[in-house]
Amino acid sequence: MKRQWYAAPYALWMLLFTLVPLLFVAYYAFTDGSGGFSTDNILRIFQPGYLPVLLDSLRLSLYCTLICLLIGYPTAYFLASRDFSENKMLVVLILLPMWMNFLLRTYAMMTILENNGLINMLLEKLGLDKVQFIGTEGAVLLGMVYNFLPFMVLPVYTALKKLDARVIEAAEDLGANPLRVITRVIVPQSIPGVISGVTMVFMPAVTTFAITRLLSNGMIYLMGDMIEEFFITVNNRNAGSALSLVMLALVLISTLLLRLVNPDTREGRA
């Protein structure tokens, strides 16, 4: 009975720093500059020019999630299938880059990719033509994958690590070839890990900002950048709040969709 109070600090934290600010955002989203009720700012997303930004955000974050899955799953499988003494290898491989702030990492990425950056200097030394990276979608995508990849590897790794080795042995004993073991036993068992990995990558990816500015000089312009612009440059917090709310609804919908495909939650086991 008393145990429920253990959660009180976190509940209070949520109330003060999640729920109350959210109410403020909702209030500003549905009012205009003078405080009167208005839906103009919410409907702003349907004005010309705004939807493409939303679609770009969705498209790039889907690409990012997919690439993270393609790179992250085999990595997690490799790590889980071997016994690295006390996971030290995992810490070094996955967590080391996370010890540094993402902004610093992205700045570093910027100096590597610039026209006179590390890669282009190397190309020049080799007598090859320079390549313009900054400003391309590829550069932004690279920055996103670079920053969010650990969020895919860790949950998949955890799911695969929990897998009972005897189940695999049983499959092999019953005559399944290695490919069949992977497709019929390992992958299905790791789906919950994949789902949480996808969620943890997609959510920060769809709200990306700053990475875009640094790696595209602001030429690739996503929802996060637009919201920041309304708050900082334009000083219109009503529009900024409304677009944040749209963003929030989008994240919520995609989380619900992911819950539908997750066998854990679908069968009410979670």
Binding site: G49, I134, G135, S216, G218, V234, N235
Partner: protein
């Protein structure tokens, strides 16, 4: 009798101490632009007055205004630009200053005293001033540039960095078209919008940035970058092949002032801080560090011949006369916002 005297003197000594402790307890929160003061001057101020300073940063006037309006944190000295000072005075957000408590105010050059944006310097004391213009890389562009037209020239496509700042960028487009930077006319603003949208659609600009432009220019990442004069000087100091232009069509001249928000609890100490920043030796230190134009007459008088020849540090009188201060455009601000978002969202 003696005991009472002893007690009294003890009490006196104690109160002395407590008074001392109180003075030390005052902590001024100074809210300034990023990288816009010589940190050594803050230490000097703390040592000389015993007042401790908490120093925090903002990157645009609008961000500063938003934080102040939202009541997020309490600030004692802020550094808004002139159009923002005008708006904040209008909204009764600034405390009135007592110039008689600031003897160093006399050091300010006469042309910057009693400005149109704040008559009688009732709410602000100039801290730094400068111009808006662009730097260009003389190795990439050998011809001499003198006009805003370079920013819209397809010859330089993909090599131009624009400024991610609403008033500055729309303002330079207006100026290029021969209009005022403070226009409230919708047709003029739409013409500026079309110009900027076309520049974007033809891929003439290579991005919208702010603080990063100066470093990109030093590194040769672009041929032309729109900058404030102080950033221009920083870039030229870092790479001498860069040249600063205040375009002939005219540009923006701006003043960043020092003000005290109305709800500051340390107005007297805040004025002490402002006065300290106007001291000739302190202003000279800040000038050497920031490289914007100092409003202190003696600093301007003591420029080296090389410094005096730099348009970024010492704009000529004719150039300065062709430039405009930003005014608060009041209700027309929503027009600016719409134009700005249309430019940013254009593709």
């Amino acid at each position: 009798m003696k005991k009472i005297a002893l007690l009294l003197s003890l009490l006196l000594a104690l109160s002395c101490f407590s008074g001392f402790a109180l003075a030390e307890d005052v902590e001024l929160t100074v809210f300034n632009w990023f990288d816009y003061i010589d940190p050594a001057t803050i230490e000097m101020f703390e040592e000389e007055t015993g007042i401790s300073v908490q120093y925090v940063n903002f990157t645009t006037n609008e961000e500063m205004y938003t934080k102040l309006e939202a009541g997020a944190g309490s600030y004692d000295v802020i550094f808004p630009s002139e159009y923002m000072i005008e708006r904040m005075v209008k909204h009764d957000m600034l405390a009135e200053l007592d110039l008689s408590a600031m003897p160093n105010f006399a050091n300010i050059m006469d042309s910057l005293k009693n400005p149109s944006y704040d008559p009688g310097n009732a709410h602000s004391v100039p801290y730094m001033w400068g111009t808006l213009g662009y730097v260009y890389n003389t190795e990439m562009i050998p011809e001499e540039l003198t006009s805003w037209s370079a920013l819209f020239d397809e010859k330089y496509a993909g090599q131009i960095l624009m400024m991610n700042s609403m008033r500055d960028t729309i303002g330079l487009a207006l100026k290029y078209l021969g209009y005022s930077m403070n226009t409230r006319d919708e047709a003029e603003l739409n013409a500026a919008k079309d110009l900027l949208v076309e520049q974007k659609q033809k891929h003439i600009e290579a991005g919208y940035l702010l603080d990063e432009i100066k470093d990109k220019m030093i590194g040769g990442e672009a041929a032309i970058g729109v900058v404030y004069s102080g950033d221009a000087q920083y870039a030229i100091d870092g790479n001498p092949i860069l040249k600063y232009v205040i375009p002939e069509e005219g540009s923006n001249i701006w003043v960043d002032g020092m003000c005290v928000p109305k709800d500051s609890k340390h107005i007297a100490e805040a004025q002490q801080f402002i006065d300290f920043m106007c001291r000739e030796d302190v202003a000279a230190m800040n000038f050497d560090y920031i490289r914007y134009c100092s409003p202190i007459q003696s600093v301007a008088d003591n420029l080296s011949p090389e410094e005096a020849a730099m348009p970024a540090l010492n704009p000529s009188n004719e150039v300065a006369a062709s430039c405009e201060y930003f005014n608060d455009v009041e209700d027309a601000m929503s027009l600016y916002e719409n134009v700005w978002m249309e430019v940013r969202l254009a593709r």
